[in-house]
Every structure is written in structure tokens, then in C-alpha cells.
């Protein structure tokens, strides 16, 4: 750890200026010192054991294909025996991505949940500015029991931070130890990998979806030009031009980074890094395919098929009414979610195709989790076990009683089942969504597909299978690089700023190549080396981009 070394050098230099506490902090965090790579190799990930008794209508698989429930399951299984909270109250810092819930004292759903877990879930729910909130609480030294740590969201220097303030959970969940917690054992190894830092496990991962972004199309619009699916990048651009009506309708939503990501897949840009034959890494933006995609993106932008206002907040409405014909969704599941804005609409999912003849298109799988939730530092085993019990309870997947209590509430009070669908009742509309979102972002089981309309689920399931044939995983998932953690966000933000300018024609491809050089100099090279050093052997070499 370069950072640690530098810090210690400074201590010797400034000599007496080093305060006693500083030395303590330094030694406590140097425990695993430089050993990130070695430790990673020897770590046994928690043993995977699927939950028994779940009855999905369509089966998922280990690649990430979701379990599908066409209707609400008739019987729910119970995965825990006792109420998890024994100390009365557990505090946590989390964030909600829905409108904030009714406060606890006036929220019957919350109160019933407290009862079910045997104590009070005292949540500090941020709505925004999570990095600031996280940092101030961290600095105060007065941490809540649980604190959600999102990946790469302005919470840098994560390794030393975890070692200084949080509890190492490796001994509690590594290998078969996790079997005490059936819902945690049912989290896949690829999810667990994202909770490993410096070769230790710091919390239960929070699965989102293993799938990555997809382009969604409004079928009624694309019908006019023979459908959304295209055979080449050129054809796609022609179709975009055809559906665009000046001042009235635009082919593509204006969020350029996502659009570029989609174009990149068609050109075969690797999923963040390419693993070379010699086990070194090349960053996506260092490849020729990336430059090709960039040139293409420039052309698409110049054609005027993007919605012209780049910070457009009403994309969902415009997609629903057909004035924006395509938008990028976080995953295939988004196809049915557009029904919220237009009940008549099920979006088309675009499967990546060869941009030019002979090119192997890829489909980038996502990070897979929204981070993990570490525990406040403590030596008290009973406390750690209690928190693990709680996280286990909250991580129960769809189809369990715990999941229903956490996400929908109590049947008859908060929701009822009508025609195989869950319908919120009473004040649930105000009480549930904000709290559900806050809880799901800090603890979750592996996801499933479940929609009010069964045929939607079948469509998504079928498309997921198509996408999986092209899938490429990020080779660095679950790997940790000091430089990346310290500088990665900053230098890639700068590079992406240049890329966006190039797309809009404000800068040239040459400028971009110069920016890549800068990225390499400012730490990029080091990031590649540090990741390559800890790259596990089971990560495959990236296949050639020609078919």
C-alpha cells in the first residue's frame, strides 16, 4: 500500500509532530499492510448454498439468469427461526431512492417490521449527498451499527477506512461458517466478491442485478422503420434519422455516457478492462474499438438524433409518449417498468449486434451489487452475531415471509393479493416505498423477475437468455487497487469529460487520445498494474473482437 508507506515516511520526517494517536491509527491499519493481493488469494469465499423450497415458475441459472415468478407465490417459506434483534435497537445509515417514508412513529408498516425483527430499526435515511453524510459521520467517530458503503460513489480510500473503523467479518462468514446464515449463504460468490477488500470480507453484499445496461425502444415508434433491432451500426443510425422529426420526436435520450456505453458494446469494447494473453490488463478506453465507437458516437450526435437538451429530467415521460424513441435502462427488467408512465407500453430490448461485419459484439454484465454494508468496529462477538442475524433476515429473497414483511408489509394490513398481484392498501402508498428502498439498498437477496403482467416476465426472461450469450463480465469485480480507490474516480471523471466533449464535437479524437495519455500518467498505468497483480486465475482471457 503506497499510501501507507508515504504516510509513514512523513511521520519520520515530521518527527515529534506525530501525535500519539497517529501512531496508533497507523499501526492498526497497517495490519494487512501491503498484503491485499496475497490475502485475496488465500481467502475462502462464503460457501454458496441455494435456499430450498423456493418455487419459481421459470428457473434461473448460475450465470445470473433470474428466477421468474409469473404470479405471486401461493406459499411463502420461512428462512429464520427467531427474531434477529436482541439488544432492543439497531442503528443504520442508508439512502432512499424513492420518496421518503412516513416517520416511524406514524408509520404502521415500519412499526410492524420492528415487531417482526424483535427491536427498533432506527434508520438514518439520506435522500441525497450520501458521500458528505457518510464522511461527516465517519469523522465524528460515532458510527451507527450498520453503514451502507456504495461502490465508487465518492467513498474513496476504502481499504484503510474499513480497517480503521469497521469489523472484519471474514471469520464469521468465510467458507462454511456462512451456513449459519442461510440467506447469506444463498448470495452468489460473484456477489460476495464485491464485499472483499484487502482479502477480508467486510459485510454482506447487496445484489442488484447481474445484468448491465440495455437500450429500450418504444415499439410503436420503431415499427415505422421496421423494428428497433438493427444489423449494423450504420443501419441503426439510418433508423434513428428516420424516426427523428425535427422539433417533435428524437430517436435517442440525451444521456451521452450511457449511449456511448451501448455503442461500445456493438464495437466490441471490453467491459472496462481487457485481459490480455500475458495476464496484463488494458483499459477499455485504451483500445482501438473504443476510438471507433467514439467516432461513431460523434457521427450519431452530429446527425441530431439525440434529444437536444442534455440535462433532460423528463425522459421517462417523453419515452412513454413516444417523443423519445429509445433510452438506456439499468437492466432488462426496465422493459416492464415503463408501464408506470404508460400502462399500454412494454419496451423492446435491443440485443447488441455487430457494429461492422465480422465484429464480435459484447453484452456487459453489471457490477452486480450496490456495494455492501459493514458493521461498526467491535470485538463483541454477540453484537456481531446479532447484526449478522439481522442482515440475514433482511437479505431473504422473494418468496419468503421475511421478504414480504420487509418489502410489502403484512397481508391484510399493508397489502392484499388480487389476481396473483400484490396491491398496497391503507396508507401503504405513503409508508412503504421510501422505507423499502432504504432497506433494499443496504441489504437484499438475489433478485428475481416478478411483474404484475406475466407475459412481461416471460419476454424479459427470453431476452436475458439472448443477452447472456454475448455476456462479458468485468474482470476486476471484487478486486481492489489502492490507486484506483484513491484516484480512480477523479481521473476517470476527467477522461469521461473529454469523451463527452468529443461526442458533442467540441473536441477531437486526438484530444481524447491525449487525455488517455494523461490518464495513464496520472495513475491509470498504476491502476492497471495493481489490478493485474491481484487478478485471479479463474478470470478468463478476453476473447478477440473478431468473429
Amino acid at each position: 500500500m503506497r499510501y501507507q508507506i508515504r504516510r509513514r515516511d512523513l511521520f519520520t520526517l515530521t518527527g515529534a509532530a506525530a501525535v500519539a494517536g497517529g501512531v496508533a491509527a497507523c499501526s492498526s491499519s497497517s495490519g494487512s499492510g501491503n498484503g491485499g493481493a496475497d490475502a485475496s488469494a488465500s481467502l475462502a469465499l462464503p460457501t454458496y448454498q441455494a435456499l430450498e423450497g423456493l418455487t419459481p415458475d421459470l428457473e434461473g441459472n448460475e450465470d445470473g439468469l433470474h428466477n421468474v415468478y409469473l404470479e405471486a407465490p401461493e406459499t411463502l417459506i420461512r428462512t429464520t427461526e427467531k427474531k434477529p434483534i436482541s439488544s432492543g435497537e439497531i442503528t443504520a445509515l442508508t439512502q432512499t431512492f424513492a420518496t421518503p417514508p412516513t416517520p416511524m412513529d406514524a408509520n404502521p408498516f415500519w412499526q410492524r417490521l420492528n415487531k417482526a425483527v424483535g427491536g427498533t430499526l432506527a434508520l438514518d435515511i439520506a435522500i441525497d449527498s450520501y458521500p458528505e453524510k457518510f464522511a461527516t459521520i465517519l469523522a465524528s467517530g460515532d458510527l451507527p451499527d450498520l453503514m451502507w458503503v456504495p461502490p465508487n460513489q465518492g467513498i474513496p480510500n476504502i481499504g484503510p477506512m474499513l480497517e480503521a473503523q469497521f469489523t472484519d467479518l471474514t471469520d464469521y462468514v468465510s467458507g462454511d461458517a456462512v451456513l449459519d446464515y442461510p440467506n447469506l449463504a444463498a448470495l452468489t460468490p460473484s456477489s460476495w466478491r464485491t464485499a472483499v477488500v484487502n482479502g477480508r470480507i467486510w459485510g454482506a453484499p447487496i445484489p442488484s442485478t447481474p445484468f448491465g445496461q440495455v437500450y429500450l425502444g418504444n415499439p410503436t415508434v420503431w415499427e415505422e422503420v421496421g423494428g428497433f433491432q438493427s444489423a449494423t451500426a450504420e443501419e441503426f443510425l439510418e433508423k434513428c434519422k428516420d424516426v427523428t422529426i425535427a422539433g417533435k420526436r428524437w430517436a435517442l435520450e440525451p444521456f451521452l455516457p450511457n449511449a456511448f456505453h451501448m455503442f461500445g458494446e456493438w464495437f466490441g469494447v471490453p467491459n472496462q478492462y481487457r485481459v490480455n494473453e500475458d495476464r496484463t490488463l488494458t483499459a477499455g478506453h485504451q483500445t482501438d474499438e473504443y476510438l471507433e465507437a467514439l467516432e461513431y458516437a460523434q457521427k450519431v450526435f452530429a446527425a441530431g438524433v439525440f434529444y437536444p437538451d442534455l440535462n433532460h429530467a423528463e425522459t421517462a415521460q417523453d419515452f412513454a409518449n413516444g417523443s423519445i424513441a429509445a433510452m438506456v435502462s439499468v437492466g432488462p427488467r426496465g422493459a416492464s417498468e415503463v408501464r408506470r408512465d404508460n400502462p399500454e407500453l412494454l419496451a423492446d430490448i435491443l440485443v447488441p449486434f455487430s457494429a461492422v461485419e465480422g465484429r464480435r459484439p459484447v453484452y456487459d454484465m453489471g457490477y452486480g451489487t450496490v456495494g455492501f454494508t459493514p458493521f461498526k468496529q467491535t470485538d463483541d462477538e454477540a453484537k456481531v452475531r446479532e447484526l449478522l442475524d439481522l442482515v440475514n433476515w433482511l437479505s431473504a429473497p422473494f418468496g419468503t415471509t421475511e421478504y414480504m414483511q420487509k418489502n410489502y408489509g403484512t397481508e391484510g394490513e399493508d397489502y392484499s393479493v388480487e389476481d396473483g398481484n400484490y396491491v398496497p392498501t391503507g396508507s401503504a402508498e405513503a409508508d412503504v416505498p421510501g422505507l423499502r428502498s432504504a432497506l433494499q439498498i443496504m441489504t437484499a437477496g438475489e433478485g428475481v423477475i416478478y411483474n404484475p403482467i406475466p407475459s412481461d416476465s416471460e419476454y424479459i426472461y427470453a431476452k436475458e437468455q439472448e443477452l447472456l450469450e454475448l455476456m462479458m463480465r468485468r474482470p476486476t469485480n471484487g478486486l481492489y487497487s489502492d490507486t484506483s480507490s484513491k484516484k480512480g474516480t477523479e481521473i476517470s471523471t476527467r477522461l469521461n469529460d473529454v469523451r463527452n466533449d468529443v461526442m458533442q464535437g467540441r473536441k477531437t479524437i486526438d484530444d481524447f487520445q491525449a487525455a488517455v495519455k494523461e490518464w495513464e500518467e496520472a495513475g491509470g498505468k498504476q491502476i492497471l498494474e495493481e489490478f493485474a497483480e491481484v487478478l485471479p486465475e479463474d478470470v478468463p482471457v478476453t476473447p478477440s473482437t473478431t468473429l
Binding site: I127, S129, Q153, Q213, A430
Partner: protein, 337 residues
């Protein structure tokens, strides 16, 4: 104390009309009965002092044009906000997010947000913070401004110390630690106390205090009045306009702030309305969620706009009550009498 110029009876016409006045056709027409009465009914009696000439046509036309243009440029977007809050989801979808006139207006958005006690409570919190905060802040600022408007020991030092606050900021983390040390975390006072003294407001207030003719305060001093008494009986009554302005600045500052609540309050029942507003308005635009791959479910646009309206109304209602303090001549009109 004499009559204030703005209450002079209209058109008593004791002032000598200037030559330009005499030429003005507007003036002659204006004297007509019916026209004037209607005009007066719509806009209230004009307060044009007797000595002032009627504006020339081009000037009046230009002014009217500017006023109307500015008003439209503000009222149309405001109308869009209100209309969208009243529009149906279908209409909003067809219009792509914002509508100018709701085709079939509905109060659904408002009933939805008031169905949760969250919005009601937050309004209560905001009103409390704003009222108590403003009163406290005015007290602190007036005391300091008055003290430093007089030659006082260490005054210059204090003044410099205050000026520095304009350009440096303590930073998030040290402020958080201070609030925590004072035991104010998760207390409504954490929304009030850090805001009770603003350097800018102090400087403005002090500069107005210094504009008060010194012969008034000196006379009182010679009569043996204490500093506090002078403040109460002379300075404050003469400073209604600036107190109204600074009070408004503080009130709006307290009303609009949400960042302190974001950092210091973790119990939602102590959230001010701006937190609720923010949480509604930023939904669906959060890049964080996008990067994380979290599917967001933003509230319907009508609800967002309804929250905007709800957070806007109370503070907007305050203004007309303060306006009377900005009427001309309140201060010196009274002094010189």
C-alpha cells in the same frame, strides 16, 4: 411627526405645474371622472405626489412594456408549475413533463402528499425554525450592528473578525463535530443556531444604522439615555425598513435551507419542508442511482410540482406584509418632521 408624503391627498395640485405637465395630454384625460375611477378601482389610488409631473407617453409606454414583459416571463413559468401540479398524469405524459393549462384539473396530487403526515409535520418544523430563527437572528444582529455602529473598544477588531466570515467557510466536517459537541445532533436547534448571525446581513444593517443622523442619538445621550434605551426608542423605530429587509433575508435563509437538515437530522419527523421538496424534485435525476444501477421510481410530475407549490406558498405570503415598510419616506419623512 408630519403626514407622510405618500398619504397626501391625490392631486391637490398646489405644486406649480411644470411646462411639460401642461403639454401632456395624458394629464388632461386623466382628470376625467369615470376613466379615473375605474383605473383607481383596479390599481388603487395613485400616490403620485402633487409636485410630480405625469410621465411622458414614450416613457410611460416603455415602462409599462418592461413591467409587462418581466411579469410575463415570471408568471408563465409559475403558471406552468401550478398547472402541472393540477394536471392529470395522462396530460403530463402527452406534454412531456410540463403543461401550461390543465385540461381537467384535479387536486389528486395535493391529496396524495397530504395523505402522509410527513409534509404536514415538515411544514410545522419549517415554520418553527423560520419564526424562531428569524427572531433570534434579528436580536443578535441588531445588538451587534448597533454596538459596532458606535465607537466602541475593540470595535474595529470585531468588525474585521466578522468580515472574514464572508470569505472563509468552516467546512463540513468541523461544523458537524461542533454540532455534535454541543449536543445538537438530531435537534431542531441544529437548524437554527448556526444561522443566527450572518456577516452580510450584519454589514447591511450596520451601514443603515450609521445613516441615522447622529444629532438624534447625541441629543438623547446628552439627556442621559442609556445605549439600550437609545437603541429601543430612536434607532429601532427609524430602522423599520432595514429590519424588515434583514428579517426577510434571515427568514428566507431559514426557510430555504436544507443542507443542515441533511447532515444534522436523522429523524424524519424533524425534517423541514425543503428536505421533502428536495427529495421529491431530485428523484429520477440522481446520477448516483444511475451509476449504481438502481432503478428509481420517481413520483409523478404532478406530485413534484405540488410539493414545489406547497413549499412556496407560506414564504410568498409573508412578503406583502413586509412591503409596507419599504414605502417611501417612512424613515426620513418621520425624522425631518
Amino acid at each position: 411627526m408630519t403626514a407622510r408624503p405618500d398619504t397626501l391627498p391625490e392631486e391637490t395640485s398646489t405644486a406649480p405645474p411644470t411646462s411639460r405637465d401642461a403639454r401632456s395630454p395624458e394629464r388632461r384625460k386623466g382628470r376625467g371622472g369615470v376613466h379615473r375611477r375605474i383605473w383607481g378601482f383596479v390599481f388603487g389610488e395613485s400616490t403620485r405626489p402633487a409636485w410630480m409631473e405625469k410621465p411622458s407617453y414614450p416613457l410611460a409606454a416603455a415602462k409599462t412594456f418592461v413591467i409587462i414583459a418581466i411579469s410575463i416571463s415570471i408568471l408563465v413559468p409559475m403558471l406552468v408549475v401550478v398547472s402541472t401540479s393540477l394536471a392529470s398524469g395522462e396530460q403530463i405524459r402527452e406534454a412531456g413533463g410540463y403543461v401550461l393549462f390543465p385540461t381537467d384539473p384535479t387536486l389528486e396530487a395535493y391529496t396524495t402528499i397530504f395523505a402522509s403526515p410527513l409534509v404536514f409535520r415538515s411544514l410545522g418544523v419549517s415554520v418553527f425554525v423560520t419564526v424562531v430563527g428569524t427572531l433570534l437572528a434579528l436580536f443578535v444582529t441588531i445588538c451587534m450592528a448597533y454596538a459596532l455602529s458606535r465607537p466602541v473598544l475593540g470595535g474595529k477588531f470585531m468588525l474585521m473578525a466578522i468580515i472574514l466570515t464572508l470569505f472563509f467557510s468552516p467546512g463540513l466536517i468541523p461544523m458537524f463535530l461542533m454540532i455534535k459537541q454541543l449536543g445538537l445532533l438530531n435537534s431542531i436547534w441544529s437548524l437554527i443556531l448556526p444561522g443566527v448571525f450572518a456577516g452580510f446581513n450584519f454589514i447591511v444593517m450596520r451601514s443603515f444604522f450609521m445613516g441615522i443622523p447622529s444629532e438624534l442619538t447625541e441629543a438623547a445621550r446628552i439627556d442621559g439615555a442609556s445605549d439600550f434605551r437609545i437603541l429601543r426608542t430612536i434607532v429601532l423605530p427609524l430602522s423599520k425598513a432595514v429590519i424588515a429587509v434583514i428579517g426577510l433575508f434571515y427568514a428566507v435563509g431559514f426557510w430555504n435551507s436544507f443542507f443542515n437538515a441533511m447532515l444534522y437530522i436523522n429523524d424524519q419527523s424533524l425534517w423541514p419542508v425543503q428536505m421533502i421538496l428536495r427529495s421529491y424534485v431530485i428523484q429520477g435525476t440522481s446520477l448516483t442511482a444511475d451509476q449504481l444501477g438502481v432503478q428509481q421510481s420517481p413520483p409523478p410530475q404532478s406530485i413534484k410540482m405540488a410539493v414545489v407549490v406547497v413549499a412556496l406558498i407560506p414564504i410568498v405570503l409573508v412578503y406583502p406584509f413586509l412591503q409596507k415598510y419599504f414605502s417611501k419616506g417612512v424613515i426620513t419623512g418621520a425624522i425631518k418632521g
